[in-house]
């Protein structure tokens, strides 16, 4: 899978937040096989040096870093955060979040498009956290995005794919655009479903970090993503309403 010209071997992308310890985080990444890790920038006090410690930890993971603008509610805030992240992580990649609603953390579609345009013009490679809205998707592509990251459900809910019709429509409308289902996944079966629907990858964090055994859950998601992708590539059968015997009818012994 290529994202902005970079070959990514795993279709599972994993967040780095909320793990019980750095060691558990590292083990979860090892068992997930994830190729991309999301990271953020946050305030640091003088003499704190927490940033340097985290930087060392993520570099040892050996994965590609995708900084985010999590928690940003305005275009300016998101753009400034992206610029700071680009300098800190030395990458033009940015997972663009412009949040429009406090309870659902739903993206602000208007701010998202505006920020995506500004950042794309400034040389960023934008990964927009968006909804399943096809019109918004079109605007984001016009703004320079070459990938879309629709939500499965609101961040941190673990509800899975809450609008299957919308996601299927989005996938079908832009068959050539890499799409990552980002946010809302709680179980590997939900990730498998997204992959079976033809999404190129999934990005999750809470479902792994908040599991009782994050490393085991990470491996579970890895297998589900692989299974779902294999199923998609294998061209699944069409479902039907009436039964159809799988064992041959001809040749059955007549025993009445």
């Amino acid at each position: 899978m290529q994202l902005y010209g970079t070959e990514i071997t795993s279709r599972l992308m994993l967040g780095t937040a909320q793990y019980p310890s750095p060691a558990v985080l590292a083990e979860a990444f090892r068992r997930s096989g994830a190729g991309i890790a999301t990271v953020s920038v946050r305030r640091e006090a003088g003499g704190e040096r927490a940033g340097a410690a985290f930087w060392d930890l993520v570099r040892e993971l050996g994965v590609t870093l995708l900084p985010n603008t999590a928690g940003c509610h305005s275009v300016r805030e998101a753009v400034t955060t992206a610029q700071m992240a680009r300098e800190l992580f030395d990458t033009p990649w940015i997972k663009l979040e412009v949040i429009g609603h406090a309870d659902t953390l739903q993206p602000d579609p208007f701010g998202l498009v505006e920020a995506a345009q500004i950042l794309s013009d400034d040389g960023f490679r934008v990964f927009p956290y968006t909804t399943e809205d096809v019109v918004l998707a079109d605007r984001l592509l016009d703004a320079g995005c070459e990938i879309l990251m629709p939500w499965g459900a609101p961040i941190g809910t673990g509800l899975g794919l809450t609008n299957i019709y919308g996601l299927r429509t989005l996938r079908a409308q832009f068959p050539e655009v890499p799409m990552v289902v980002d946010a809302g996944l709680g179980l590997p079966s939900q990730a498998a479903m997204a992959m079976e629907m033809g999404f190129d990858a999934v990005l999750l964090n809470t479902a792994v970090a908040k599991a009782g055994d994050p490393a085991a859950m990470a491996q579970g998601f890895a297998r589900a993503v692989e299974a779902g992708r294999l199923a998609y590539e294998a061209d699944p059968m069409e479902p039907r309403d009436m039964a159809a015997p799988s064992t041959p009818v001809i040749g059955k012994a007549f025993l009445e």
């Binding site: 003499g47 985290f54 930087w55």
Partner: protein
Amino acid sequence: MKITLNGTPTEVRAETLAAVLDELGYGEAKVATAVNENFVPAAARGQTTLSPGDRVEVVAPRQGG
């Protein structure tokens, strides 16, 4: 002069952003900066003069989803 550093009113003696970071103990820390909501690249901190009331943000790599 009094500036706001990461949301907290802070008294500083230095005048440039680079000198203020030194004064506050950031040293060689891996941080990025913004003044009054505008990004200030590391290379520009030495030429960025602060004024009383400026809002300075200093951020570092952290966990994220």
